[in-house]
Symmetry: C2
Subunit: 220 residues, 2 copies
């Protein structure tokens, strides 16, 4: 006999709801918003987190300069107005992803508190999860790493308005997660975020829904 | 013994790829782009398709005026330039969804061939599936339905530049799917789209991955 076990799946004639989508994915949509200096480790952590989520069958999607600046925001420059609009649009895209059920991982310096707070407000008004992750790294350490050689250019005056050099970085006052990348390993950082997702009920059971896992349990 | 059955899941240390995401979802990301007159039935079909996909455990997400005009495009008006930018941004968002693995359902009149072709090109350049669905309805029938009372207002001159009245609708020349809503039922229309998705390998096995289904097969 076939028994209905899952209580979070409802069937109805109306429109498919956010909760319905979450039940397909066994996860709640969320926006994980990494903010920090250039070279602080935002992308490195996002990539490692994406892998860790994939391992437990969870869908995440990274939003970064590569797929945003060349796409939806390709008509934006670096004026104050455009930088603000850049973050606003990313926030709106992240919101749509969260509504769809995806855990989006946004890696942008996003130096201004007001801009980040607006994105947070967008999410909270829509009842969506917004997790601000302060990727805290000393300027000295970020500048030592300088993975893209940008600090060197900024110091040489070849790049203007560079965050940390001649433009301010406004640190989050009360972020959901505070990572100190001067002293933590990437593994530790990923674990902190995963724990947060578990503790806040964003990762639902069953954890394993990938084709191989399903086939495996059937074969046991 | 646990045997690796699925051949489409690869494990690696690098970044998670589009194919990895597709393997989690058992579907390929795709943009289903409904175009047609106001009142032609775009949203009705999208809602019915969303339900049908949910029933087989597939994740879709509707993009429409409600979540786009009030969000990512809230700073756009109805000038020619803004209407073009409206469609461009929706196309970019749909592209991100497709890359993430989601089947997005875009319901916008999108009356101009050039704008739609640009969205198609965006997708094709990125190796993403773009399915243009011409929701073909006679003006007489659409005006008879007039679900939002907009034709009445346009005829009375209260709305200017209304597609089909004082602004052109450029029908798709070679859409992937052509639905004639004057004569087809919504059920028939949904079946045509689902058949297209199956035929083109966008819906992968196993079809049932929702919690209830997994629990059911384990209990059998």
């Amino acid at each position: 006999m076939t028994k209905q076990k899952a209580t979070n799946v409802t069937w109805h004639d109306g429109e498919i709801s956010r909760e319905d989508r979450y039940s397909i994915l066994h996860q709640r949509g969320a926006t994980i918003w990494f903010t920090g200096l250039s070279g602080s480790g935002k992308s490195t952590i996002a990539v490692a987190l994406e892998q860790a989520l994939y391992k437990i069958g969870k869908l995440s999607y990274r939003l970064d300069g590569d797929n945003v600046r060349l796409g939806i925001n390709k008509n934006l420059g670096f004026s104050e107005e455009d930088r603000k609009e850049n973050i606003r649009r990313i926030g709106e895209v992240a919101k749509l992803f969260g509504d769809a059920g995806v855990i989006s991982l946004s890696s942008f310096i996003s130096p201004y508190k007001d801009d980040r707070d607006e994105v947070r407000e967008l999410h909270e008004k829509a009842g969506l999860n917004f997790i601000e992750v302060f990727v805290d790294c000393s300027l000295a350490e970020a500048e030592k790493r300088d993975p893209k050689g940008l600090y060197k250019k900024a110091r040489a005056g070849e790049i203007k308005n560079f965050t940390g050099i001649d433009d301010p970085y406004q640190a989050p006052v009360n972020p959901e997660i505070h990572l100190k990348t001067d002293v933590m390993t990437v593994e530790e950082e990923v674990k902190i975020i995963l724990d947060h997702l578990h503790t806040n009920g964003l990762i639902l059971q069953p954890q394993f829904t990938r084709a191989d896992e399903i086939t495996q349990s059937a074969a046991l």
